[in-house]
């Protein structure tokens, strides 16, 4: 059992009023809030050891570097990568996917090759592949989802062929909270020699991810969605693959030697980390993971699962409310519509009641199109949310309904 009062006290932002009402933050899919353990660490870092990392001979530089490289180790352990060389720091999930689209794409994707994505991907897991396909004259194919927002495995099998070079799929859909059958997909993909990138932006913070067990080729996530700072994220890639890929950006830190005649690139992981890394941000991910571990990821999963089930049940009771999809496996996010009420209107009024939800397309326009809607209201949960907050959400929705009747 989580000590929810203690946990909520760790997150200073939760304890505030919005328009005179207690804040109920249900927009965790967009970004998570930060515990004091992370916020204070960042202050402390800047107040005591900040210095540019790598190659510095002085003491502060050594300390900053140590925090940065230790963060890499913490992350390696958290997702069970084989080596810290496989952990590349990026700006976030979006940059990580772009890096793969650019560098892996350069080396592995050729004219006529096929890349598969699901119909419910986030734009960040669509547009880089569209750009790559355009550049390389490759073909982007779309794996449809059923009415429950689940991948149709039969269709996936049909689309999969030895022309398929890459499958880019989210671990959890950000629009609907659907847990994707990535295990199954990865196994089938590897049978035809295709690689798999898993967009873990909505998975890594909610349940245990083991990249070696999954055997995915790439895995990405964002710091800001796992209780750490904004402006930092992670690309995991299998060492062998990363070694074969050309560098992405050029500049300081990613080189071994530079001359105008010949520049040699550095080894992993630095090869993909051009310029001054966001070392404070990176270290903040480690602190966030420490925090998660102190609660226990399994406990978090259990608590959140229970909470989301409760929310689904309670929301379903509201007349005129329609949840998009009831996937068998789901977590963290629920997308719904209110009969006759525009999602924007609902979101605006909920805000006035202190309830922060996200409305619109959730950066997943094709997914909206699939369900022939212009957007949804999305409530997305974290372990600091409570059933009481779910009740308040339901009450808020009833109030909204009354206003628009």
């Amino acid at each position: 059992m989580l000590d929810i009062n203690k946990i909520r006290n760790d997150f200073p932002i939760l304890n505030q009023k919005v328009y005179g009402k207690q804040l109920i933050y249900l927009d965790n899919g967009a970004t998570t809030q930060k515990p004091n353990q992370v916020i204070d660490y960042v202050s402390e870092f800047y107040s005591t050891i900040n210095s540019n990392i790598h190659r510095g001979v002085h003491s502060l530089s050594g300390k900053s570097t140590e925090e940065y490289e230790n963060a890499r180790l913490t992350i390696k352990d958290y997702i069970n990568a084989n080596s810290e060389k496989e952990i590349i720091f990026t700006k976030g999930t979006t940059e990580a996917i772009n890096l793969v689209a650019s560098s892996f794409g350069e080396e592995y994707i050729n004219e006529g090759d096929e890349i598969l994505v699901s119909q419910t991907e986030h734009h960040s897991n669509i547009v880089p592949w569209q750009m790559l396909c355009k550049r390389k004259k490759a073909i982007l194919k779309v794996v449809p989802v059923n009415n429950n927002t689940e991948i149709v495995i039969e269709e996936f099998k049909k689309l999969l062929s030895n022309k398929t070079k890459l499958i880019a799929i989210s671990q959890v859909s950000n629009a609907f909270g659907t847990i994707m059958p990535i295990n199954n997909i990865i196994q089938k993909a590897h049978k035809v020699g295709a690689y798999v990138l898993v967009d873990g932006a909505q998975g890594v913070q909610h349940f245990k991810t083991d990249v070696q067990y999954l055997d995915c080729d790439f895995y990405t996530f964002s710091g800001h969605k796992i209780y750490a700072e904004t402006g930092i994220g992670v690309l995991y890639g299998k060492e062998e693959l990363l070694n074969k890929m050309p560098p992405y950006q050029g500049g300081g830190d990613m080189i071994k030697t530079v001359s105008f005649e010949k520049t040699e690139y550095a080894d992993l992981p630095l090869k993909f980390e051009a310029g001054t890394s966001n070392y404070v941000g990176a270290a903040s991910i480690a602190k966030a993971i420490d925090y998660i571990n102190s609660i226990g990821l399994d406990n978090i999963y259990e608590y959140e699962n229970d909470l989301v089930n409760y929310a689904r049940k309670e929301l379903t009771k509201i007349k005129g409310l329609k949840i998009i999809g009831s996937p068998t496996n789901n977590t963290s996010s629920i997308s719904f519509l209110l009969n006759g009420i525009h999602h924007y209107d609902a979101g605006m009024i909920l805000d006035k009641l202190g309830i922060a939800v996200r409305t619109g397309t959730h950066c997943a326009e094709p997914a909206m199109k699939r369900f022939d809607i212009t957007g949804t209201i999305r409530a997305s949960f974290s372990f600091y949310n409570t059933k009481q907050e779910v009740d308040e959400l339901c009450k808020g929705i009833l109030r909204v309904k009354k206003m628009f009747d």
Binding site: H342, Y344, D345, M348, I349, T374, M403, F404
Partner: protein, 143 residues
């Protein structure tokens, strides 16, 4: 009434409300009363896309006055459109161009006009001004 006077009277109307929800209830009411927008005018060229809500706007030029018609799929957006129309409709191009829309800030609804709110309203106001400019040019060219 000048556009400033109308804005001032809107501000007075809203001063009556202490509660946020009451303000929005009033806006919703206004949105409901907005005169019908012809569905055949819901064309792509009249559409001002916003991520959050969609807005349609068209304009005609009659007797040196610009006549606006607008709609939205979200009723709160529609309510604010109603206020904008009340101020800007049936005005000369010059009036439209000169009007500074200060009332939204004063009634505490400035957030609806944030460019990043993506409800289409900022673009709609820009579009209204553009119509003002275009009709002015059109009129002057005919002189």
């Amino acid at each position: 009434m000048t556009t400033t006077e109308i804005q001032n009277s809107i501000i007075e109307e809203f001063n009556m409300f202490d509660e946020w929800l009451d303000k929005y209830e009033y806006i919703i009411e206004l949105g409901g009363e907005l005169s019908d927008y012809d569905d055949k005018d819901k064309t792509k060229s009249n559409l001002i896309s916003g991520c959050q809500s969609r807005v349609w706007l068209n304009a005609e030029f009659v007797d040196n006055k610009v006549m606006f018609n607008a709609d939205s799929d979200a009723i709160i957006t529609k309510g604010i459109i109603a206020l904008l129309i009340r101020i800007m409709n049936n005005r000369t191009p010059e009036e439209i161009l000169e009007t500074d829309l200060f009332f939204l800030e004063k009634i505490g609804l400035k957030e609806n006009l944030s460019p990043t709110r993506a409800n289409g309203l900022v673009s709609m106001i820009k579009q209204m001004k553009t119509y003002g400019l275009a009709y002015k040019a059109l009129r002057d060219s005919k002189k």
